[in-house]
Symmetry: C2
Subunit: 435 residues, 2 copies
């Protein structure tokens, strides 16, 4: 991989997400060589992907070049690479651009959409875990409306204007709210020759409440906000299958839709060589101890979504969200410095800073450790926190400007099909509609 | 195409570029049904594409949804469509989404890259006429540097870091200048483990001066600006061929480069049915009279790059730039209104407002009808004019913020490979390098 030998120990970090970046920052100017590998050349701010999908933000505003994060970090090497396999005996990583040895390895590969083995949904549904996926969804939504204009078949037109979002976590709730706002504020102006009131936004949740990781009051309020916006909230329904048009469930309820967004589960991104059953917990997470060491290894660590540190408060590991990843990255960074200085490592203690979700304009829910609130103030808190955690001054300013503009104008201007999206079997879908 | 019948005459406009949009605005609230067709759902501000390619701007900032332009225009219908053929006898347009009849037709299809029949350059070179093309070029530039890191073969590494831009018009000059600034300001920081001083930016011009459409003093000054930035300017050299690595010319000079950008020519986008030899001038432009009527038709008009109106001052038609397109669109719009009111049409008179090009920070050249100037003030004028003509308040603010940021920080943050680019024959290129 063309990385110079060094007399310092080599730390290889796989993944430039919240955890990997937080960790890397701690290793600046230390007696270590650090190699960061990622399959993208940018860090991406996943909590705002739904705004890219719904034309509220430009993709570049929520991404940040990893090389820029590492500017002025001596002994740091970034490589754009797909990791293929890890040989834990030889301490060697194989990638598409060659092999690399490590002294210490940090796995921070994050998570990916989990379809729980459902091939139909995987083939025909949309995911929203990466920027390209979010742009595909944006294109599909816009293309659906363009296509709806062209048909006189009411059945087909309704399917094109119906949306089914599966999963009542923050992603599902936020996307459903944003689509409802588009339906209300933009569609009637953009498509005066289409009866856009017929567009339906359905949010389907398997459990008995939305935002199950938040408080009961947040769940209740989020549901009420969504209903105010005209979203159909379906609870206690489990989506069974999807063929590109028909959604079946475990109940009598079914949907006809050209767009199913699957936000109902993630699993950790495992790597060959570290994916033996003994390492993995539910959802492919790697079991780690309180120092983030992967069970059975002293020199392999895991942080963020991919790591499962079982504690009294979190018997199944910490939530797969930005905050635990950032805190774990920082803790591990400090510990690796201690390791270099031959000092004992300190166990990780998670500090719950609360959680939040936004449903729409002036509508958000916030659970802080000591206080819970909803509505306008919560919405401002949500925006402030997201701006604060966004990397890069320019990104913050541009996102802020966009939000002010969208707020004042009830608009989202980035509704551009720059990346036309074709489902691999769109033809089949058209055929389905004729049936 | 599912467009309602109307008692008013139907105007079909093909193309939502500068000309088509300027024209459409004139027809608002008139006794006409207007159908605008475009293969994209957005208008795109072509003069700033090079800033998308070089990471200075986000693509969404220089694009604007066509439906938003037409919001609140009664009797306007936008359709996302590829026009396939025109039957001028039946006054019928065939598209990928069905047929449509017209009473009056306006062809505003613009221009595309012209390779003058050179298959090698077409296959292996990069164009920069659309947003997807600009994003592909951005990805290729960044991928080249990532790849350069991985090789010890100095020959291959140089080819990856060399850039050949063919064409000394505004596009070539502006792209060369931007790349030179990246080489100076960003590469050494982003790639500390690469000797980025070896990166070469070559601008190759067939004629004996750059910016041939501008004044001699502008040409001279632009060339000096480029040389100050370290660009190699080659004049009186005609590029002959390119195989993905070797550039041959009509002289002894040759280049090894993984990136050839072809900005040396455009031709009008013609449509089947209107492409008979009798209609077409050089570069596939449609010959029109002073009312923009295509020769031989009273009901078919052409404006912008696709139209060639031969006048005393412009025996080969007006320059293929934004200003003539906008002015022609407005003039034709007024004339179509006169036509509806049974008034005589007024011939088009082009008002030359001057031209300008920017080379880099504080370096631009401006030719106004009465005064020519270069340097810092010219650069501010260039920015002001481009912001002014950009459509959309949000776009203007976001572009302005980006420019201020880039100016203050000597930076361009949108250097993201969101759309990984694979040349169809990249494998061949790798093979070439081994030879």
């Amino acid at each position: 991989m063309n990385i110079p030998q060094s007399s310092n120990p080599r730390f290889v970090i796989i993944g430039g997400g919240f955890g990997g970046i937080a960790l890397a920052k701690k290793l600046r100017d230390k007696e270590a060589q650090v190699v960061l590998l990622d399959k993208h050349n940018y860090h991406n701010f996943q909590p705002l992907l739904y705004q890219v999908s719904t034309g509220g933000l430009e993709p570049d505003s929520i991404a940040y070049p990893i090389r820029k994060v590492l500017q002025g970090y001596p002994n740091f090497y970034f490589r754009l690479a797909n990791v293929l396999e890890i040989d834990t005996n030889k301490r060697k990583i194989s990638t598409n651009i060659g092999d690399i040895n490590y002294d210490y390895l940090v796995v921070a590969t994050g998570s990916q959409t989990n379809y729980f083995g459902n091939k139909g949904i995987e083939a025909m549904g949309m995911a929203m875990k990466t920027i390209p996926q979010s742009l595909n969804l944006r294109s599909l939504i816009l293309e659906n409306f363009e296509q709806a204009l062209l048909t006189d078949d009411l059945h087909a037109r309704d399917a094109l204007m119906n949306f089914v979002i599966v999963g009542g976590g923050p992603t599902g709730v936020e996307l459903a709210g944003a689509l409802a706002e588009i339906k209300k504020g933009i569609l009637p102006k953009d498509y005066p020759d289409l009866d856009t009131r017929r567009a339906q936004i359905n949010l389907v949740q398997a459990g008995d409440r939305l935002l199950p990781a938040m408080s009961e009051v947040a769940s209740r309020k989020a549901e009420r906000f969504l209903e105010e916006l005209g979203v159909n909230v379906w609870k206690n329904i489990r989506v069974a299958d999807y063929d590109g048009l028909h959604v079946t469930t475990d109940t009598d309820t079914s949907f006809n839709t050209a767009t199913l967004v699957w936000a109902a589960g993630v699993s950790a991104v495992s790597i060959k060589g570290l994916d033996a059953k003994e390492f993995l917990c539910r959802g492919n997470r790697l079991k780690v101890n309180e120092f983030h060491q992967v069970e059975g290894f002293k020199e392999i660590f895991a942080i963020g979504d991919v790591a499962q540190m079982e504690t009294e408060d979190f018997p199944n590991g910490h939530p797969m969200m930005a905050q635990p990843a950032i805190q774990q990255g920082r803790n591990l960074g400090d510990n690796l410095v201690r390791l270099l200085e031959n000092k004992p490592m300190k166990p990780f203690v998670y500090k719950d800073k609360g959680s939040m979700a936004t449903v729409g304009r002036n509508k958000a829910v916030v659970d802080l450790p000591k206080v819970k609130f909803q509505g306008v103030f919560a919405w401002f808190v949500w925006m402030f926190v997201h701006l604060y955690f966004l990397i890069g001054f320019r990104n913050r300013v541009v996102v802020f400007i966009n939000w002010v503009y969208n707020y004042v104008r009830f608009d989202r201007e980035a509704r551009l099909i720059i990346r036309p999206f074709k489902k691999q079997n769109q033809v089949d879908r058209n055929k389905l509609m004729q049936d």
